[in-house]
């Protein structure tokens, strides 16, 4: 049996995450808009900060997708939040992320036939498509799961 306050806290955090996931995807994608709006992507440009920020956010989001998340919460709450239904939703989100990343890879491949695409741009596009799709899918499934009846 789970303690009442732990269960309530887990439910609260789970609902908050469901609301946050699509929002995070929008923030993440808007970062890509900023990146591609800047023409100079040389390694020594001032863009390095933006690129580093994107890479850090990407790593955090991938870690959140691949693990239970809520790293600062006690273990019992983390275990409860990552229960059976959440794991299923998270895995489905990752499945969508993988498919979108592959589709983006195919799109980039065709794009290179008509336009020069740097390796860094290709990585940006593929990772962005995969991570954003996974976040949106997971968020939608979690929101649906929280809806009553």
């Amino acid at each position: 049996m789970v303690e009442r306050n732990v269960a309530e806290r887990a439910d609260y955090l789970s609902k908050r995450r469901a609301r946050m996931l699509p929002f995070l995807a929008v923030i993440f994608l808007s970062q890509q808009g900023t990146y591609f709006a800047t023409p100079d992507h040389s390694p020594h440009s001032a863009d390095s900060v933006k690129i580093a920020a994107w890479l850090v956010l990407s790593a955090i989001l991938v870690a959140a997708l691949a693990t239970k998340g809520f790293w600062l919460q006690p273990k019992e709450i983390r275990d409860l939040i990552d229960d059976e239904n959440t794991r299923a939703n998270r895995l489905d989100g990752m499945r969508w992320g993988f498919l979108f990343a592959m589709a983006a890879g195919v799109a980039v491949y065709f794009l290179t036939m008509f336009e020069q695409v740097t390796a860094r741009e290709a990585v940006h596009i593929i990772m962005s498509a995969g991570i954003a799709a996974a976040l949106v899918r997971w968020g939608l499934l979690e929101r649906r799961a929280h809806q009553d009846g």
Partner: protein, 68 residues
């Protein structure tokens, strides 16, 4: 032909006067998971199905059945 796992969790919960949160606490999951199983959105694992049946005082076969 499409098959779905139907259940009488809601009915049984009502008979026992349990809320989704109380049932969730008993089986060690969040209310969300009980909600999705109850509504047929999520198919539970065998482990969770047994825990739910035990908490509601029924056998798994009494609690869940396949609807065609």
């Amino acid at each position: 032909m499409a098959e779905r796992l139907a259940n009488k969790i809601k009915q049984r919960r009502g008979e026992l006067g349990l809320t989704q949160s109380e049932l969730a606490e008993q089986v060690g999951v969040t209310r969300k998971t009980v909600n999705t199983v109850e509504n047929g959105v999520f198919t539970p694992s065998a482990t969770l199905a047994i825990k739910l049946a035990q908490a509601l005082g029924l056998s798994v076969e009494q609690l869940f059945w396949i609807e065609r």
